[in-house]
Amino acid sequence: MKRNDIKLIAVLTIVALISVVAVQLLQRSQSYDDGIAVVTHGSTEVLRIDLKDGSALVMDEEEVVSIDEEAGIYIVKGSYGDNNTVTIGYDNANHTVRVLDEVSPQNICQKQGETNTPLKPLTCLPNEVVIRIETPLPAPDDDDAIIY
């Protein structure tokens, strides 16, 4: 290795470490127990899960297979293969959601774990299902929410 190689590795390592630490800190500071998990399939918004209590608001009935709010299990349609589904689980203790089951070559989105931060969306690429976290709406008595 030449001197320029070592310089490049050093610069990239420093940049990577700083940004990894920054993203981790941001994720911790921006996790919302009262956020909304927005489930989309392709460009269609399918479902909204309230992280406070796991209650679900169906946005597109055609895309939802089943919902069990008591158990915190929501099954939506996926794109990979015929009649494929993605099972989403709600954790009442941590106020998070995660992908419990889906069919894909590597099951990567199951391994992404749980989320309740906008900085960590869960992406099931072959199924084209994405779970994004939206921040809670400000309370009506907040000054910022008043429009004169």
């Binding site: 390592t13 990894v20 099951n107 391994k111 690429l125």
Partner: protein, 170 residues
């Protein structure tokens, strides 16, 4: 000479397709992160860049992406991710190969990094989810050791093939 070149390129194409499929099926799932790979198929692109040049390396890269696309699904999200990653990686590799003072290790690291960047931006576009960009720092961090690894393997292979080709500094 032309026959030798065609046979070599065909073998390299076959090797890169097999490496890519093995990597997708056997290695990628361990990390739990989308788009993370060792980049074994990139070893072939590196070898071709340093032996037959930019045109042949680019040709093999494109044909490999299309052939693997027949397995993963042509025009599927995985295909577009590979295409975007491959294009950005190849651009950065050719740029860094031309810059003085950088060896195949830096070229390989930039290829690995470019692959991550290209894939992330394509994923943001395909899924219309800007937040995916927050995966990028961890992918950059992972691309450094994987780039060093593939670069060292490519350099070792090039050294063993030195007699076959004009002498290069790797």
């Amino acid at each position: 000479m032309q026959t030798k070149r065609l046979v070599f390129l065909a073998i390299m194409l076959g090797v890169s397709v097999v490496l890519n499929i093995v990597e997708r099926t056997a290695i990628q799932g361990f990390t739990g992160l989308p788009m993370v790979r060792l980049g074994l198929a990139n070893i072939v692109v590196l070898i071709l860049l340093y032996t037959y040049g930019i045109k042949d390396a680019f040709g093999v890269l494109i044909i490999r992406i299309i052939l693997v696309g027949f397995v993963t699904g042509l025009f599927s999200p995985a295909f577009f991710l590979s295409l975007a990653g491959g294009m950005v990686a190849f651009s950065l590799m050719t740029l860094f190969k031309k810059l003085p003072g950088f060896t195949i290790i830096s070229v390989s690291i930039m290829g690995s990094l470019g692959h991550a960047v290209g894939q992330i931006f394509m994923a943001v576009f395909l899924l219309n989810t800007e937040e995916i960009i927050f995966i990028l720092p961890i992918l950059i961090a992972i691309s450094i050791p994987t780039g060093i690894f593939t670069g060292m393997v490519a350099r070792k292979l090039l050294e063993s093939m030195r007699e076959q080709f004009t002498a290069h500094s790797y």
